[in-house]
């Protein structure tokens, strides 16, 4: 009798707790509106929204490969399951056409959908919460003046209880810190502009900060390096693996142009980010570079190219004129014919022709002694790049690297990776070579990611619906 009573009381208490949770967590729907007419928005505001959308990379996640811009449907693999980006074109039924500006701002600030459901932080509202009213207004104006597309994203594949959106109330309670960006009075205006953009709309930390078991960024380890879709997002703090320390001018060039002479070409999920930033105001890109450079910190000495690299660049300068007319000479790398085993042989035969060739970046291959892909914490990025290369960008001049997925088996790639790590970095051997190679081979994330078109924020640069991108 007593046992039954205890169980009853326990059940009641649990029900009460659940009731309180639901009561506290419940968010009301915001009444739908008739989609506002595109002509009703100020053109200058829309234009400003376009540049903000480029800095926020909206189109990068909210566009499926080969799909219509901003119509959603991109699969975002997370440790908890796959979340699909949604349609943020102003389609009344399947997009955000029925969202008022208040509903849009609530989503940006609190991660709540117009109908009151909780959004998952795959949508980085933990960053977007910093965005100002003015910028939210401009973004809203930009999005609501896009071509509406009727498209419904596939359903997420999250297991119970994560598929109950209300549980995100608990996550938000723990990890969402609402409030505007607070300027640091000790820093100048450029730095503060950069911090506002990088921490807010630009959401750099979403990939470059490690996440805890609940998928939230470890705020104590900001920019200590994270992961994105099968790629390593390198540390952007003092533990940056770049062989030549980044500084603001180098970051500015990299972010705006997609490459830097001493750091190489953006690839993987970073490629579309730099493509978007190419369309952003140069002053904003420079501000982000200034801010990120201070997170990485000043090098002990001014950045010096490695000695070997400096010699090679001098050689490239001399050879450049002749080389541009002479594509007929395949150079077999002179290096390492003995010692280093298969990896050395593969490097000399398959890689050195471009990576030690006469062409300068970005169309020539980077000196691998400068590559974070070799000095980074994992073999992931190297495996992705060797297997799938750098496919040509659609409609734009771009560096190309052929992929070797068909020519190289896993053992050959692993041997190559081990050789490159030993020969071109002063770090110890990778422990995850075999695993990285296997994952890169099976995930096939690289072609999709690298196939981002030249300017995702410009609809004319995107392939139309129905065209398949590999």
């Amino acid at each position: 009798m007593r046992a039954v009573r205890s169980i009853l009381v326990l059940c009641l208490l649990l029900a009460l707790a659940a009731g309180i949770y639901v009561f506290v967590a419940w968010r009301p729907a915001i009444a739908p509106i008739a989609p506002p007419s595109a002509g009703g928005f100020d053109a200058a505001l829309v234009q400003r929204g376009a540049t903000l959308a480029a800095i926020g990379d909206c189109a990068v996640c909210h566009t499926a490969p080969g799909g219509r811009v901003l119509a959603g449907g991109l699969a975002l693999p997370t440790p908890f399951g796959t979340v699909f980006s949604t349609n943020i074109t102003p389609d009344a039924e399947t997009g955000i056409g029925g969202w008022s500006e208040a509903a849009f701002q609530r989503a940006m600030r609190q991660g709540i959908r117009r109908d009151g459901a909780y959004l998952y932080p795959a949508f980085p509202y933990d960053h977007f919460t910093l965005v100002t009213d003015d910028d939210d207004r401009a973004l809203y104006a930009y999005l609501m003046t896009r071509q509406p597309v009727h498209a419904t994203a596939p359903a997420n594949t999250l297991p119970f209880p994560l598929n109950v959106r209300l549980v995100m109330f608990g996550w938000d309670l723990l990890f969402l810190h609402q409030g505007p960006y607070r300027a640091d009075a000790a820093q100048n205006e450029t730095w503060n502009r950069g911090a506002y953009l990088a921490e807010g709309l630009g959401h750099c930390g979403a990939c470059h900060t490690p996440r805890n078991v609940l998928g939230a960024e470890k705020t104590g380890r900001k920019f200590a390096g994270g992961e994105a879709e099968g790629w390593t997002a390198y540390a952007l703090n003092s533990s940056s693996p770049a062989p030549v320390r980044w500084n603001a001018p180098a970051l500015d060039h990299y972010l705006g142009q997609g490459w830097d002479e001493l750091h190489g070409v953006a690839r993987g999920p970073m490629a579309p980010v730099t493509e978007d930033l190419h369309a952003a105001p140069p002053d904003d890109v420079r501000a982000i570079a200034v801010y990120v450079a201070t997170q990485i910190g000043e090098p002990a000495a001014p950045p010096q190219p490695l000695e070997r690299h400096a010699q090679k660049q001098a050689g490239r300068g001399k050879a450049a004129a002749a080389a541009s007319a002479d594509s007929q000479a395949v150079t077999i790398g002179a290096g390492a014919t003995t010692g280093g085993g298969d990896g050395a042989l593969i490097y000399a035969a398959a890689c050195a022709g471009c990576h030690e060739g006469p062409r300068a970046l970005p169309y020539g291959g980077i000196d691998l002694a400068l590559s974070s892909g070799i000095s980074g914490p994992s073999a992931k990025n190297l495996a992705n790049v060797v297997l799938y290369g750098l496919p040509a960008a659609a409609g734009a001049r771009s560096p190309i690297m052929p992929g070797f997925a068909a020519a190289m088996d896993d053992a050959q790639l692993a041997a190559l990776a081990a050789y490159l790590r030993g020969h071109f970095s002063d770090k110890g051997p990778w422990r995850d070579v075999d695993e990285s190679v296997r994952e890169a081979r099976s995930a096939q994330t690289a072609p999709v990611v690298n196939h981002a078109p030249a300017a995702p924020s410009d609809p004319t640069q995107r392939t139309t619906h129905g065209e398949t991108q590999r």
Partner: protein
């Protein structure tokens, strides 16, 4: 000595293992269909199949290929008995200067072997790495479409 399997035949070639496959095919084995274009894996004129997948033979050292099946255009058909892909390119007169055509045929062959029902969009996307400087792209696309139809129907058993 490097051991290679080319068009179903076991070959032994006296070559440095670092030598690009293209040089061995053209220089040692006298298989001249694959062409030298850019030498950088960027134009596709040198495309051949390795285990059914297209590779740029100009940047693929033979050291990588032991135990793998290499197929060149000569392995698909002959002048007397052309393969469907070759008949289709002839029927559509898809070549102008013709330099890119062997590579185009090999890349298309790889797609159609896996999926003879490939859509026009699939074909376009698939052929993207191969360049044609004459501008016969539309004829090339028609030829691949024609080859796909041939492989789907009467000549299905004769795809190779």
């Amino acid at each position: 000595m490097v051991k290679l399997n080319v068009n179903g035949r076991a070959e032994e070639v006296d070559a440095d293992p670092r030598t690009p496959l293209l040089y061995v095919l053209r220089g040692d084995l006298k298989l001249n269909a694959a062409k030298f274009g850019c030498g950088l894996g960027q134009c596709g004129a040198c495309t051949v199949l390795v285990n059914g997948e297209p590779v740029f033979s100009c940047v693929t050292p033979v050291a990588l290929l032991e135990g793998k099946q290499i197929t060149t255009l000569e392995g698909l058909g002959t002048v007397d008995k052309p393969a469907p892909i070759q008949r289709a390119f002839i029927a559509e007169q898809a070549a102008q200067c013709g330099y890119c055509i062997p590579g185009m045929m090999m890349r298309a062959q790889a797609l159609l072997q896996k999926n003879p029902r490939a859509s026009d969009a699939d074909i376009r996307a698939w052929l993207e790495p191969n360049l044609c400087r004459c501008g016969t792209h539309m004829r090339i696309l028609r030829a691949v479409r024609r080859a796909a139809e041939m492989m789907q129907t009467a000549q299905a058993g004769d795809a190779r």
